[in-house]
């Protein structure tokens, strides 16, 4: 932002030296907490996410490029609120929150409320985002993240985050959120609702994929036409869910 002269702050504060903010851990209640200076690369290599949080595990290696992943953070990415950012979609699909700390203490803001618009978040001027919290799953967590980018490190043409919890074959909770197909991160609630309380089947998957495509508000640009981007939302939603259905069938 500074290089492009969109921002010319008088002062920059380096938060890297604040102790004990580089963690990511799972609490006793099953919620996952990611500290503000925990790097993308830490999440990419995390055995915790690999075993306990499949949507985050799927997204982590797709964020930006290896150089950015060594330096950038999940919390920073959500704060940046770029509609083409990956983590805001993943966090929205997981019903996650951002914890903000200011002179009057801490408050928790759901990511879907936290991201206000392109490059706008809900932090007050005297607040700092200190962690992201993913609530405990309501069953066995499953999910995925798919993204089309023209090149590794390119901004997403389209990204789709799917996070479901299952009890038996019933979907007990579902979240679907979309990257780069609207003025901000898009929550595809109707699509998620179509899965909730039902088992994954070819029909429910098709319904959810269609509703997700309808939730997208893409624009035609040099990355592709609006119709094409909507098609990608449909295909990616369907592919993630079909993959989950297949692994369920194979396990059975």
């Amino acid at each position: 932002m500074m290089k492009l002269r969109f921002a010319s702050p008088e002062m920059l504060v380096d938060i890297n030296e604040i102790p004990d903010l580089d963690y990511h851990r799972i609490d006793d209640d099953g919620s996952i907490r990611v500290g503000a200076v925990c790097r993308h690369a830490d999440l990419e290599r995390s055995s915790l996410l690999a075993t306990r949080q499949p949507t985050m595990a799927a997204a982590a290696p797709l964020v930006a490029d290896p150089i950015v992943r060594m330096r950038g953070t999940l919390v920073g990415s959500v704060c940046h609120a770029d509609p083409q950012g990956d983590w805001a979609s993943v966090m929205t699909a997981l019903d996650a929150s951002i914890v903000a700390q200011g002179p009057n203490g801490r408050r928790s803001i759901a990511v879907r409320d936290f991201v206000r618009g392109p490059f706008q978040n809900a932090l007050a001027f005297d607040e700092v985002a200190v962690e992201a919290v993913v609530p405990a799953p309501k069953g066995e967590p499953a999910g995925g993240y798919l993204k089309l980018e023209r090149r590794v490190g390119d901004y997403a043409t389209v990204g789709v985050a799917v996070a479901i919890d299952r009890v038996g074959s019933q979907v007990s909770r579902a979240g679907i959120a979309l990257t780069a197909v609207g003025p901000a991160t898009m929550a595809a609630d109707a699509a998620a609702h179509a899965l909730t309380g039902r088992p994954l089947t070819t029909d429910t998957i098709g319904e959810a994929a269609e509703l997700a495509a309808q939730a997208a508000q893409p624009k035609t640009d040099h990355r592709g036409s609006a119709d094409f981007k909507r098609q990608l939302v449909r295909v990616f939603t369907s592919r993630i869910l079909t993959g989950l259905l297949r692994s369920e069938e194979e396990a059975a």
């Binding site: 090149r151 043409t157 098609q231």
Partner: protein, 793 residues
């Protein structure tokens, strides 16, 4: 005593490690921006935000008032010194700083010279320019439309936006061939704009010393001597007082051949301020204002006989040159070497009509890893050939084979007048087909289709003319396209070699020494290679268009032979025998009748300074200027297999097989590096690189997040193979190679995708073949054009 072992001394054919990498991988390269001179000031350019507008006024007062600002230049300042406009290498004129109008987005409007670059940039933002917007033209259709605004109203006798109309070939004969054809295959294509995008952007440090009257310019240039001549002509300075130094160059790819306004402005600023002035271009400046490439439209037709023979070719091209015709090309042909298309095929009749137009875009037409439009020529050729084979219902490989010039037909005169020198086209194709497992893949493709999977295979075969020029048909500003080498053998047998070429990554410091080693037997590590300083290097035309080895490399061989001829006389003196009785083997002269009696080249070197024959001039040094009798003609066969995802339009490269015949290889490792680099660029152009314009002339692709350079992550693996047909007229049998893969590669990728989607009835998707274009083509069954303006909702 025996001859030295050529491999051991790093001679021809040795994959010697690049000596320049010693400093590059240690971060010890010395680029223009690394150079800091005492008292140096910094220049920044203010660029036009609009693509076409009249300048009502420019107010620089706020900039002048800022602390640290030393000078503000505008078109008015330049005009007062007759420097507002400069000549281009294509006999047009180009604005240095705009006076009357801006004609493309990013055009140079003013310059600030200040104590540091930040002050200069801030001061640029304080300049107020009052623009009156004018209608904008971003493609040839708009340019040639009735009532289109006149872009070049600065030129006398220019009443429309057409730059030239040009044609070559036999129209009547070609018309007859088409009348007799069993089938005519037609296709319309656009080769989109692309940008060379060297990692190092352009820059200069001009240092005028009033006390000595000498102007030294450190410059990112591929052709320092041409720049010296141009500066002498434009700035009217005496040539001996101009020194151009091209230090380490971080890639050129044709982008660093032209003269840019920033160079001229920094030189004037240094003359006015009598202090060194540094200008370093930023990435956006480089992408939006410096030498673009391509942007040519084609209507192509092939007249075909039922048995697959091509009877005639028609090409009708329209080139979008942007606001100034500043193609950096030395041929006498308006559209460069476009008519070298189809040179690998035996085609009796051919006719090309070419038109060039102005638009409100940055100047285009630099030869990006290319010999002056051969990239477009070979892409058009191989896309036309692919479509024609499909139209005939003929196998892609077989169609090419029946039309190839045969091995015993060389030298072969093409119907557009080129003389190809040598080749084994059929053999190269065979090697490629064998490597890729052609018949097996065709079966696999058929099987996959039954399960709804889209596989495709694309072939691109071509020969291209490399190594401009010969002096009859090629010159720059009247200077003939020869090149030069100067070789000094020191007393201890070590050597200093300088050439008129200029490496920007090609590895001259390594390969030139190998040629000397091959000719003289002096170990390559004993030969220091220097280039790029006009005060020390012999006059040469620089490095671009794959001309280094064909021309300067030949000069290196020739100057080595001159040295050897003198050394032979010294050897005769030392051996006390007549010169006629002496034989040469690598590194050593010996007495024919007594092979163990001999002297080494190093012993001759000592004697040249200490014990020369009576009457012989001391020393062992010489210079050679080489005027090539012809261009060299390498051949390439590129084969790509892909799988297209019908639901997303995404295509993945399964395999990429490259067979290159560039004659004798001096350093096989460097040759392979050149091929891999070229294939990577070919893949990028075919797959992702998109630098276009919206209907207001805004450049879409003005940074590296929009205009993409591929990384190792997505670049496919390449399988390289070789065939060697020595060039018959080159001293060491070598042909150019630097650009082959970038020239011939794109069509292989596009042909593969087109083969995969053939069932939908689509004949063409313009590059870049983006997933959304493939998806659209599959949905509609219609061709997808890539002509600007880009769709932006």
């Amino acid at each position: 005593m025996t001859a030295v072992d050529e491999v051991k001394i790093g001679g021809m054919g040795a994959s010697r490690r690049r000596v320049e990498d010693n400093r590059f991988i240690r971060g010890k390269g010395n680029y223009v921006d690394d150079i800091v001179l005492p008292g140096m000031l910094h220049m920044e350019i203010l660029r036009s935000p609009l693509a076409h507008a009249r300048i009502r006024s420019i107010d620089t007062s706020k900039a002048w008032a800022m602390p640290g600002v030393r000078l503000v230049l505008t078109g008015e300042t330049m005009a007062a010194r007759n420097l507002a406009w400069m000549p281009t290498l294509s006999y047009d004129t180009q604005a240095v700083l705009a006076t009357d109008k801006v004609r493309f987005q990013g055009q140079e409007v003013a310059c600030v010279i200040a104590d540091d670059p930040y002050i200069a940039k801030d001061a640029c933002e304080a300049i107020v320019v009052d623009y009156e917007p004018l209608p904008v033209i971003v493609n040839p259709t708009q340019s040639m439309a009735e009532g289109a605004p006149l872009i070049r109203d600065d030129k006398e006798n220019q009443s429309d936006n057409v730059i030239y109309d040009w044609e070559v070939g036999d129209k009547a004969g070609t018309d007859r061939a088409f009348a007799e054809a069993d089938l005519v295959s037609k296709i319309e294509l656009h080769y989109p704009r692309s940008h060379p995008s060297p990692i190092e952007c352009c820059g200069s440090i001009a240092d005028f010393n009033r006390a000595t009257s000498k102007l030294t310019v450190y410059l990112t240039t591929q052709a320092p001597h041409i720049i010296r001549a141009a500066v002498a002509l434009v700035a009217e300075l005496p040539e001996q007082m101009i020194r151009i130094i091209s230090p380490d160059i971080g890639g050129g790819f044709g982008n660093k051949v032209p003269v840019y306004p920033g160079y001229v402005a920094s030189i004037l600023a240094s003359i006015l301020l009598e202090r060194p002035v540094k200008w370093i271009e930023d990435r956006t400046g480089n992408l939006i204002s410096t030498g673009f490439a391509r942007d040519v439209y084609l209507q192509g037709e092939l007249a075909l006989r039922r048995d697959g023979r091509i009877l005639g070719v028609r090409m009708n091209t329209t080139a979008d040159h942007g606001a100034f015709f500043s193609d950096a090309q030395p041929s006498k042909f308006k559209i460069g070497l476009m008519h070298s298309a189809f040179s690998c095929y035996d085609i009796p009749n051919a006719h090309l009509v070419a038109r060039g137009v102005y638009t409100n875009k940055a100047p285009g037409g630099v030869a990006y890893r290319c010999s002056f439009r051969v990239t477009e020529a070979m892409f058009f050729q191989e896309r036309m050939v692919h479509a024609a084979a499909d139209d005939l219902g003929m196998d892609q490989a077989e169609f090419r084979r029946v039309n190839f010039v045969r091995d015993d037909d060389f030298p072969h005169r093409t119907s557009w007048g080129f003389l190809t020198d040598s080749g084994q086209y059929g053999k190269c194709l065979d090697v490629g087909l064998e490597a890729v497992g052609y018949q097996d893949f065709l079966k696999e493709k058929e099987e996959a289709a039954k399960r709804g999977r889209l596989l495709g295979i694309g072939i691109s075969t071509m020969t291209e003319p490399l190594g401009a020029g010969n002096s009859r048909e090629y010159d720059i500003l009247g200077i003939k396209m020869f090149d030069s080498a100067e070789l000094k053998i020191h007393m201890t047998g070590k050597a200093l070699l300088r050439t008129g070429a200029k490496s920007q990554g090609q590895g001259h410091e390594t390969t030139w020494a190998q040629i000397v080693a091959h000719e003289l037997g002096i170990p390559a590590e004993d030969v220091l290679v220097e280039e790029g300083d006009t005060d020390t290097a012999p006059f040469g035309m620089g490095t671009y268009a794959s001309r280094s080895t064909p021309v300067a490399g030949a000069a290196v061989a020739m100057v080595s032979r001159k040295i050897r001829a003198k050394a032979r006389k010294i050897a005769a003196h030392l051996l006390e025998i007549s010169e006629e009785d002496i034989e040469w083997e690598l590194g050593r002269f010996y007495v024919r009748s007594q092979p163990d009696r001999g002297v080494t080249i190093q012993e001759c070197a000592v004697a040249a300074y200490s014990n020369m024959p009576d009457g012989m001039e001391p020393g062992l040094e010489n210079v050679a200027y080489y005027d090539p009798p012809n261009l060299t003609w390498p051949f390439a066969c590129y084969i790509v297999t892909v799988e297209v995802d019908p639901q997303t339009g995404v295509w993945d490269v399964l395999r990429m097989v490259a067979v290159d015949d560039c004659g004798v290889r001096i350093n096989p490792m460097i040759v392979e590096g050149q091929i891999m680099g070229g294939l990577t660029e070919a893949y990028a152009m075919a797959n992702m690189q998109f630098i276009t314009f919206d209907d207001e002339g805004n450049c879409i692709g003005s940074n590296f997040t929009d205009y993409l350079l591929p990384t190792a992550w997505e670049t496919p693996g390449f399988e390289l193979h070789e065939v060697v047909t020595p060039c018959p007229h080159h001293p060491i049998g070598a042909k150019g190679i630097g650009e082959c893969a970038a020239v011939g590669g794109p069509a292989a990728f596009v042909n593969a995708v087109m083969d995969a989607v053939k069932g939908s009835g689509v004949r063409n998707i313009d590059m870049p073949v983006l997933p959304d274009r493939v998806y659209e083509a599959l949905q509609t069954g219609q061709d997808v054009s890539g002509a600007p303006p880009v769709r932006m909702a």
